[in-house]
Subunit: 752 residues, 2 copies
């Protein structure tokens, strides 16, 4: 769902919104200065205000500069992984001694380890908090039940859940709207190069941690895995940007940009070690009532030594049905999220109400379904040893209104934390524990609750709902096919979870790794791989993966790895937005300030023209942020002459040009220039990136897109094919490669 606002008022748009290429080529830019005359439609004017009668196909770049992040709408920016090779950079690079480089290397490592340490601590804290809050809630409920005070138990249970839900939703709605949802689509988009200031903000981090604890403790059918991924990204961004000026935490570390595999790996190692040692510590009973939870290690204890063709056929059937149900899940989730976004748009109170309603429904299911389930007699051998029914919180055989010697199977799944429910479903050698009608009811409930829960304004992961419903589906199918196969129903539950994960998320390799980590049994690898392969293939016939769907629905301009087929019929010049706004290599201060104020563009080509070059040629590309730093230093001259880099370095250090953290950059309003200064000139040579990536205007758009995406660019200059034209005919940005924009320009191109 594309957001309504066409191009926001924030100064964040990259692409000029008006006259496209063909108009452009008929009105070549003059060497300087007339380019920003007010008759050019501009981004603040909503774009397309002044239509021209030329060859233009459509006025504005229709892709939105805003996206839904969490449950709110945010302005977005692109990230730039290109090396800005200007004189400042070169000077900086030359001036660094070996010691400084070594220092920088060490710093990056320390940072990576610190991120691991902090994320490990957060993960541990999260686990402990959930175990204790949810445990306390469930313990009191169970105690009230044992005293036959059912109404009190239900009231306590439902109000506890509703309060926790309301707290989580209020935090999300008022303090960190970007923290709602799983966060994986946002992180995915960030890694793709899309930045919204709020995605990784400190407030988001705080709400993500606390809201996730409340949400999980509130008994929702949601997980804490996705939020933990987002939390990790927030922590790394916070540390890497040298803290947050807004909240008064700042330090002067260097910016930290792209994480490498190897450093990521060590960070993960540190996080895992921290978590492990803390869990060891808790084994001694130092962490409150319920410290024994922690790392989920499901025990699929059935030794799979061999399987027959019949077993394989059953597994393939499971994978196909799982894939179908996964695709259906994606389809329904998409519909439900569209409805929810109308409710969420109405404001914070509506978000809270929606969350509480879903909480009440969930509580009624959790408490009501066991109520409707008949008691099952305990297996004799367990009853004798006193393991059934279990009194208290953990254990497979919940006593819930049942006479001694019997247990309530539904309560074993619903009146537990989600982690424990999964552990119970995965457990091997327990064929008779859960009956077919009971599994069917549980599956239906969890599948539906998972669908309606995701869109509420609470940090909510999708892994747990998908695994829960997949596991109950797998166990159900395993029981139905029991006569045909010799495989354990616990194993069927695991494979069912795999088929659902493959069917919804379509991430095969990572899901495989996650399931292996959960079960710690590498011998299951071939079966899990087979299931993932089949279910992903089946589901791919119907729709896209759930995260891709969400990225699209949120309006995040995600660049696909492969170019769309329609791009093969177009050339770069076809989509370029014009009029081009360019600067002379030595430009009047007034012009620069005026342009910065009037446009939202973030990169401007610099043209070398008379008297500095006999014919106009492309000198480079300047960034808005660098221009602002340069203007504030006021290295101006009265005449139009080159001042050179030395003048700049007298007033500024290379560090002044370092990329600011989100929300910390200068704006035009920070400049304080007099009338005389506005009439002076500023030399842009020292800050111009002399090696911008360029494509010729008749380059195939598909190949230009590959270049743009592979190199992680933010701006790409389009140069003319033939001489005698202005040296640059346009700038391509992320938005120019969006299929929606291209379809808007050329409605017929897809049908060819």
């Amino acid at each position: 769902m594309a957001v309504g606002t066409e191009s926001g008022s924030g100064g964040v748009a990259e692409s000029a919104p008006s006259t496209p290429m063909s108009a452009m080529t008929t009105t070549p830019i003059s060497a300087r200065s007339v380019r920003w005359e007010s008759d050019m439609p501009d981004i603040e004017e909503g774009g397309g205000g002044l239509e021209r009668p030329l060859l233009r196909r459509r006025g504005t770049n229709t892709t939105s500069q805003m996206a839904i992040v969490g449950a709110n709408v945010c302005p977005i920016e692109s990230l730039d992984y290109e090396l800005v090779e200007n004189e400042v950079y070169k000077q900086d690079w030359r001036s660094r001694g070996k010691l400084q480089i070594f220092h920088y290397q060490i710093l990056k490592w320390v940072l990576a380890l610190l991120v691991g340490l902090i994320v490990g601590l957060i993960g541990f804290f999260n686990n402990i908090a959930v175990e204790n809050i949810a445990g306390f809630k469930l313990l009191l409920t169970t105690n009230l039940m044992l005293q036959n005070r059912y109404k009190a138990a239900f009231l306590w249970f439902i109000s506890c859940n509703a309060m926790l839900a309301a707290a989580a939703a209020a935090l999300c709605a008022y303090f960190g709207p970007a923290a709602a949802g799983s966060g994986i689509p946002e992180v995915k988009a960030y890694l793709n190069g899309v930045d919204a200031p709020s995605i990784l903000a400190p407030s988001t981090l705080f709400v993500k941690i606390v809201g996730s604890i409340f949400g999980v403790s509130a008994g929702f059918v949601l997980g804490k895995e996705g939020p933990m991924v987002h939390t990790g990204a927030c922590v790394a961004s916070f540390l890497g940007q040298g803290g947050s000026r807004k909240y008064g935490f700042t330090w002067n570390w260097l910016r930290w940009r792209s994480a490498l595999l190897w450093r990521t790996f060590s960070t993960t190692a540190v996080a895992a070690m921290v978590l492990r040692s803390l869990i060891e510590y808790c084994r001694s009973g130092n962490c409150g009532l319920f410290g024994k939870g922690g790392l989920i290690m499901f025990d699929v204890s059935s030794q799979v030594t061999s399987y027959t063709t019949m077993d394989l056929a059953a597994v393939v059937l499971l994978a196909i049905v799982g894939g179908l149900l996964g695709a259906l899940f994606n389809f329904l989730l998409n519909r439900i999220l569209r409805v929810y976004s109308y409710i969420n748009e109405k404001g914070a109170p509506y978000k809270i109400i929606l969350t509480v309603v879903i909480s009440l429904v969930t509580s009624c299911c959790s408490f009501g379904l066991p109520w409707l389930t008949a008691c099952t007699p305990c297996p004799p051998e367990l009853a004798a040893s006193g393991h059934c029914p279990t009194i208290g919180r953990s254990g497979n055989f919940k006593n819930f209104r049942c006479p001694p010697g019997q247990y309530n199977a539904m309560a074993s799944l619903f009146l537990n934390t989600n982690d424990d429910a999964i552990r119970n479903l995965f457990s091997g050698g327990t064929e008779s524990e859960f009956g077919v009608p009971m599994l069917l009811a549980f599956f239906t409930a969890v599948y539906s609750l998972g669908l309606v829960t995701y869109g509420v304004a609470v940090p909510s992961g999708l892994f747990i709902p998908v695994i829960l419903s997949g596991a109950s589906f797998g166990r159900l199918l395993g029981k139905l096919l029991g006569a045909l196969t010799g495989l354990d129903t616990g194993l069927f539950a695991l494979l069912g979870a795999a088929s659902f994960l493959g069917g919804t998320m379509r991430m095969t390799v990572s899901v495989c790794v996650i399931l292996l980590e959960l079960t710690n049994d590498l011998l299951l690898l071939p079966l899990i791989m087979l299931v993932l392969l089949v279910s992903k293939t089946v589901a791919d016939c119907f729709n896209k993966g759930v995260y891709e769907q969400m990225v699209r629905m949120k309006g995040l301009p995600y660049l696909e790895a492969h170019a769309e087929p329609c791009m093969r019929s177009l050339v770069a010049g076809d989509v370029v937005s014009a009029p081009l706004i360019a600067f002379s290599s030595v430009e009047s201060v007034g012009t620069v300030v005026d342009t910065l104020r009037r446009t939202g563009h973030n990169g401007f080509p610099v043209i070398e023209d008379a008297p500095f070059a006999p014919e106009p040629e492309l000198c480079g590309l300047v960034l808005r942020s660098h221009l602002l730093v340069l203007l504030r230093a006021k290295t101006f001259t009265a005449d139009r002459v080159k001042t050179g880099a030395a003048e700049v370095f007298r007033k500024l250090a290379p560090f002044d040009f370092a990329k600011p953290g989100s929300g910390k950059g200068l704006t035009v309003d920070d400049l304080d220039l007099t009338e005389e200064e506005m009439a002076m000139y500023v030399d842009l040579h020292p800050i111009a990136n002399r090696s911008p990536y360029t494509v010729v205007e008749n380059m195939s758009l598909a190949k230009a897109a590959v270049l743009f995406r592979q190199l992680g660019l933010r701006h790409m200059c389009v140069v003319p094919r033939t001489p005698g034209r202005p040296p640059v005919v346009g700038i391509l940005t992320r938005h120019d490669f969006m299929p929606g924009y291209i379809r808007g320009l050329f409605p017929n191109v897809l049908r060819e």
Copy 2:
């Protein structure tokens, strides 16, 4: 070690070898036809024959067009991952129906699964063959020993090994020189874009499989893991290229180019499943004498529940020393390989002699060291149960000249297959089994033998020697530090292996995965990660990883992911090789044939000039292979006019232009043209790639290198910065980015 030959006589060079850019710019190419006058130095003339007194820095591109593949020298080519967007491609793409695309998709999947199936079968065959050959050899030796016929046993053992070694070496030397060594450097280089026809040839595949079985059975200190990687690559290439014309296996499948992660994953899954089911089959005793080996699953049975600070300190110490020894291994291996390459260059008989000599040394060590080792009394509890000493092939406690109730620890390691030796070293709960002096002797022997064995002309993996020496080192250190830590010596052996792998190969993530697969215990993950991290960091201070070293030594033009610092001071125009050889868009047949005959270039820019364009402009790039196909079809005209694509499609189908498998392409000599035809014209428009990637001549070389590497290019056009010059000033190829070439051009650039 760079190979002596400067630029081979094969038609494989991509870059023009002479006058660089600065000379070039002073003599702009005329619009057409004079470019290949004979006064231009050419590749067949050895390059640099006609030095010019201009601004040239150095005449030829000094990077070799040849590389050592296996133990021989081969001509190399670059691979090209760029989409050739010419009219043929567009026509092909347009003409494909949905059914054909679906068919193509299915075909790719079938191919992927088939590769998995075949590789699984080969792996299984390999295992079984080694187990049976080596097992038979060792069984007979043991039997002779038990009869006290020591001399006969030694003679049988040493001659068996020598014969197997000679057979493997002869196969390698005469039939598949490219099969020598591990093959990982070659596969790495291939994935980077370097192709030598022999790397993935069917003969290489055959020798790799059989030679590896012989080599491992011969008792060398080498592994079969690297060769298996290479084998898999060969199988995929063989199937993907539609078989081999040379050996009479051909089929008309489409070419198969780039493998995606997801398809790779399924291929692996199939291979794993095939292997597993075959091993199941063998458990029933259907696979000869020794069918029980198979998948190595080391049993580090010690349950690591917790570790103290002291334990961690010991592990870090182990990792540091392991990193140092790993770096030393790389250094020594480098030296030894240089010596060996002199021997190997002398011819096949020398290769065989070297191999047999190393085999004799290995045999003496394997048989002699146990001889010198004193017998150890069996642990009483094992002696009572009859598990010590073990008679026959497997088991920890080898009886070797020892009286009953005693065993020879050295024989347990040496008179075993390498897999069993590793299993013995890793085994937990066996503190007292191996003594300190014995471990020291074994470590020294294996470390040295691993070094001297790798370079012989036999398929030989490095994993096993590194793991063996690492494991013995770890166990040794574990025994020495035994008083300080409570960790099992088997665990120390595993961590020692990890430290050696980190120290030599520097591949952390994959090594971690491999070790986890071997031990099947995810709880060891944090410790293994820590060890890898430390040992890699330590070793990185001294030299590069062993595979990077080998890629460099073999002269394979590997493009690093990061540009060299010196490239930041240069621009693309600085390294471009000239004179540029270009074609007109409608060119005389004689000129084209002449050029193809006289140069080895694989890509030529096409210039659109009068009368087709008012001013010369870059029309595109044509490939040698496409030119040859076009010329053979003889779509010539008497006058210099455009014929267009229709004429071409009347005679040729898009499939005719498909990339031929190695050694299957046309050459100039396949053309049979009359004098009249040579005087006619050929229209190059239909086969010209209209969207070649271009950089401006003043683009920073570092950024051009990033573009080249990221997009997997083979040719990149350099265009002029200012108008009024020829539309393309040069072509950049892989060789132009090699640090050696750049240092040759600008000897001072690195010292800045």
